[in-house]
């Protein structure tokens, strides 16, 4: 149980931070896209009897770089590029799964999350990757703010905008892989996006937006895990439902307060 809580705390912290940047850049779909690409990596890893999370990480990173290059080349409308990767990744995954003769328990745990059975090895990976993401976001928070708020002015200031964009996409890939173990591939984007959107409803400044997003996310993870433990339901679904409840509450609170 402690392993699960630690894993939950880590993902609960990094997912909303990345999520805020994604939502503000209108790239919410990238999380979903990369999680489907990661699924192909997982399927490949299971098929080859190697560590599935490694497969997921490789696939997600390749996908991230590919998406970013397509986006900056300007040859496709933003969403179309994502749709191609999402369906392509999923198609590869389905084919690989059929090669392995269908679903098994392992695959199921990647699809829907298995926070309660977090292995020690998984935990190391989660802690390591989580610290990488947390470190990068903290170190580069002012640069990420600048490119998110006004990319052009950031460029004029001499910031390496293209590198930062790529880095952000890579961080999304890493976060997705970490989240996969807890809420599962199918609900990963929800964990990144919903607390961020909740915080945006209540935002008074960028800093408070990040703080509120992390707070909502951690509460959702904690409540979701406790509820799933006692009611014996899927943790991933419980966590996301908790996050949605907070979103609903924030929306109602916003409606009652006069606009400031």
């Amino acid at each position: 149980m402690q392993r699960a809580l630690l894993a939950g705390a880590i993902i609960g912290t990094i997912a909303p931070m990345i999520g805020v940047f994604l939502v503000l850049r209108r790239l919410s779909l990238i999380a979903d896209t990369l999680s489907h690409v990661a699924l192909a990596g997982v399927a490949g890893g299971l098929l080859l009897q190697t560590y599935p999370l490694a497969g997921a990480l490789v696939a997600a990173l390749v996908g991230a770089v590919g998406i970013e290059r397509l986006r900056t080349s300007g040859r496709l409308f933003g969403e179309a590029a994502l749709a191609i990767f999402l369906s392509g990744g999923f198609a590869v995954a389905v084919v690989l799964i059929s090669l392995a003769r269908g679903f098994n328990v392992d695959l199921f745990s990647y699809l829907f999350g298995a926070i309660t059975v977090v292995q020690p090895r998984d935990l190391w990976v989660i802690v390591l990757l989580g610290l990488v993401v947390l470190g990068a976001v903290t170190l580069l928070s002012k640069e990420l703010f600048a490119i998110t708020f006004d990319e052009e002015s950031a460029r004029v200031q001499g910031l390496p905008v293209d590198i930062l964009n790529l880095l952000l996409t890579v961080l999304v890939a890493v976060t997705v892989v970490v989240a996969m173990r807890i809420v599962g591939i199918l609900l990963t984007s929800a964990l990144l996006v919903i607390p961020a959107v909740t915080a945006l409803r209540l935002a008074r400044s960028f800093r408070t937006t990040l703080v509120v997003a992390v707070a909502c996310s951690l509460v959702s993870v904690l409540v979701g895990m406790i509820v799933s433990f006692y009611l014996d339901i899927a943790a991933g679904g419980a966590i996301v439902l908790a996050a949605l409840t907070l979103f609903g509450a924030a929306t109602l609170a916003r409606r009652e307060k006069p606009r400031r």
Partner: protein, 256 residues
């Protein structure tokens, strides 16, 4: 103070024989122009005349098809001292009004390039941001969400952001679009103050001929080519402005 020391006597901006086309459409045609320290230059011209394009080329956002640009005596390709240059973009492209950022956070981000990668903002950065906000008269709004201000107030915040790094050169792209007349007056007097009292070199791209001709010290008329570059008085005398606008200037005269 912002008096440039190393480039005394040298033009701040040297545009030499710059041409640029968007696809087949030639937008700038062998434009050569120098901007001296302390100038308050207004760049005017009809729609599609390349004013914004020229500004973007000077800022390094676009690469010219031919010709070159020097900033502070250095070729643009090698230029790194971007904290000496302030940029106030056109409002429409700047940002989305629901963005969760306070006024202070926006102005502080003007120090990002200067502060160095991986370092947090320091007391210096905050102090400069406060000063910039005081200069534009918006300090009392520092904790307000940027989206909750009027267009004129937002524009002043963007100027503060550009001023936060204490630039010697300030470039503004159509800054009074969507701003009401009172705010425009305040805005121009602010720019004049910055130019006269602080010595900041100003380059202003604008549609607003009548107002701009009153406020600037130098006027450049651009219509794919540089049609005129000199003082506003000379411009009026030579009829360069009317010639360039033709039908449009008749419309302006009629309204007055």
């Amino acid at each position: 103070m912002t008096t440039p020391v190393t480039t005394y006597g040298r033009p701040l901006v040297e545009v030499t024989d710059v041409s640029f086309s968007y696809g087949d459409e030639r937008v700038l045609d062998h434009v050569t122009l120098q901007i001296q320290s302390g100038d308050f230059l207004g760049i005017i011209g009809p729609n599609g005349s390349g004013k914004t394009t020229l500004l973007r080329i000077i800022l390094g956002l676009l690469r010219p098809d031919s010709g070159r640009v020097r900033l502070f005596g250095t070729d643009l390709a090698e230029f790194r001292e971007w904290s000496r240059v302030g940029y106030v973009p056109q409002k429409a492209v700047a940002f989305e009004s629901l963005f969760p950022a306070s006024v202070f956070e926006v102005v502080l981000s003007g120090r990002c390039g200067r502060a160095g990668v991986g370092r947090r903002y320091g007391a210096d950065d905050r102090a400069m941001s406060v000063r910039a906000l005081e200069t534009v008269g918006m300090i009392q709004y520092r904790d307000r969400l940027i989206g909750r201000l009027s267009a004129g107030q937002q524009q002043r915040v963007f100027i503060a952001r550009a001023l936060a790094s204490r630039p010697e050169l300030l470039l503004l792209d159509e800054p009074t679009v969507g701003v009401d007349l009172d705010a425009q007056e305040q805005f121009y007097s602010l720019l004049c103050r910055l130019n006269r009292d602080m010595g900041t070199t100003m380059v202003l791209v604008s549609h607003d001929i009548a107002v701009i001709a009153q406020e600037v010290t130098q006027l450049a008329c651009l219509n794919r080519r540089l049609v005129f570059h000199g003082s506003p008085d000379e411009a009026m005398r030579s009829g360069a402005v009317e010639h360039m606008y033709r039908a449009e200037s008749r419309l302006v005269a009629h309204r007055h």
